[in-house]
């Protein structure tokens, strides 16, 4: 407690002990987060803090839902270009804030050249990429992956993409709020509850052996 607050507290205690006690209690109860004023002078300041949230992500085998330590893709078979990851990501989340989104995207760290797309696992020769797409589900149910439904999978976007738009639906896997008893919904508008399951698939016309990589994020954003 700084000098000014201390002085004010002493004055209040001497003049109105009961009021002092009530104020002290109010300050304790109303300050869930810690905040301090500058010690040098009286600084007009207001502070509002809200909400709490938790998040955990766990890869699990598509085959048996057992916890796994990684996401793995098999190379597409000859004549095929699509590959579903052998694992999905179970996303467990909880929040009591009124406005949140969970976003997923890759982050290659590259600068946009206005031409190429980077929502992919990228080989040492950047001409070789496994482009990634995702689907989100409220239940553990492996989505179908065929050339016919590939466009129903959502493109993974990267900030280096020419059309990067943080607010686009390509990034949002879930959104919700605490009002109305708490709600959460998937991009298609259907309601959901934690956990939700993120499936990832890749497309590659041809790949050469090597290390393919990218950074992938799941951001649980509160604004």
């Amino acid at each position: 407690m700084n000098r000014l607050l201390r002085s004010a507290a002493v004055a209040l205690f001497e003049r109105a002990p009961l009021a002092f006690a009530l104020c002290a209690l109010a300050v304790f109860v109303a300050s869930p987060a810690h905040a301090t004023l500058d010690d040098q002078e009286s600084v007009p300041m207001s502070l509002t803090v809200m909400g709490s949230a938790s998040l955990s992500i766990q890869p699990k085998n598509v085959s048996n839902n057992a916890p796994a330590s990684s996401l793995a893709f098999a190379l597409p078979a000859p004549g095929e270009t699509l590959s579903l990851s052998s694992q999905y990501v179970e996303v467990s989340f909880n929040t009591n804030f009124d406005n949140w989104k969970i976003k997923t995207y890759t982050s290659s760290g590259r600068s946009s050249d206005g031409i190429n797309y980077w929502g992919a696992l990228i080989g040492p020769d950047t001409a070789y990429k496994m482009y990634l797409r995702w689907k989100i589900s409220d239940t553990v149910a492996t989505p179908a992956l065929t050339s016919g439904n590939w466009n129903s999978w959502t493109l993974y976007k990267d900030p280096a993409d020419p059309d990067w738009d943080y607010n686009s639906n390509y990034l949002n896997i879930a959104a919700g709020g605490a009002w109305d008893g708490g709600w959460a919904q998937l991009p298609n508008g259907s309601s959901c509850s934690s956990p939700i399951d993120l499936y990832v698939a890749g497309s590659a016309a041809s790949l050469v052996p090597g290390t393919y990589q990218n950074r992938m994020y799941l951001d649980f954003i509160h604004l």
């Binding site: 869930p32 810690h34 207001s46 502070l47 709490s52 949230a53 955990s56 052996p209 992938m216 951001d219």
Partner: protein
Amino acid sequence: MESSFPSGAGNVEARRGLPYGAPALRFLLLCAAIAAAAFPASAELEVSPVIVEVSVRTESAASGSWTVRNRSMRPATAAVSAISYTDYSSGRRDAPAPSWLKLAPPSLTLAPGEESRVAWTILLPRGASGESLALAFFEEKSRSPGTTMIGRIGTAVYALASGTARPAGFVREVRLQEDAKGGEFLLIEIANTGNVHFRPTGTIEIRSAAAAVEATAVLVSGGSALPGTGTIFRTTAFPPLSEGRHVLAWKITTGVFDSAPGPALDGDTVLDCRRSR
């Protein structure tokens, strides 16, 4: 996420030029393939608060803290970082932290069930005007090399230079939507033309052509309208409206800024309901 053909037990080293037609080799290639680097089972980190809104005089520091708790059954290390919202939304992921926001410590190691604090300090420079927005991210640090699948909790830090708030905005558009339960609700796009965010609250009264009140919808609270943006908010649901002309009249408040109420965004519009048969 990383794909590799590392050497070692259980892995396959793939080389160019191998005869793909060889059945055994093809099997191995199909199995080993693009194995992502590990991202181990994550701890469950809990962070509180998720929103920090501060009004502070320039050149005077303000400070506070987050509480970070490890809710899992194993130790966890949480890494903490900050980025301006402009850099983050623009995709400049590796941009340096905003100079006006300091976080400490940059990481925490927590035993199962343990909680600790991360302190924030805000110092706006002389001449700062309006509001600065940053996101502070809390992520569990991976224990495996090369892990690139990252789950993070992002919390917003709004810092307003005291005395410089100029809240302003208007309702740009109102649309009627059906919900999954057979009711209807309104989507309201609110443009923020000021220099500080606000969280609009209010009601929309819907009257029929006969001036009877058919519904009163409540603007759902919590969402943030950021300066320079148009943001869509929804209302609570109501029974389907009758066909024909309706007048929608809204009373929306924007909050309090430096102890003064912000502008009201009151207005009205006409809605013509026509249902396809």
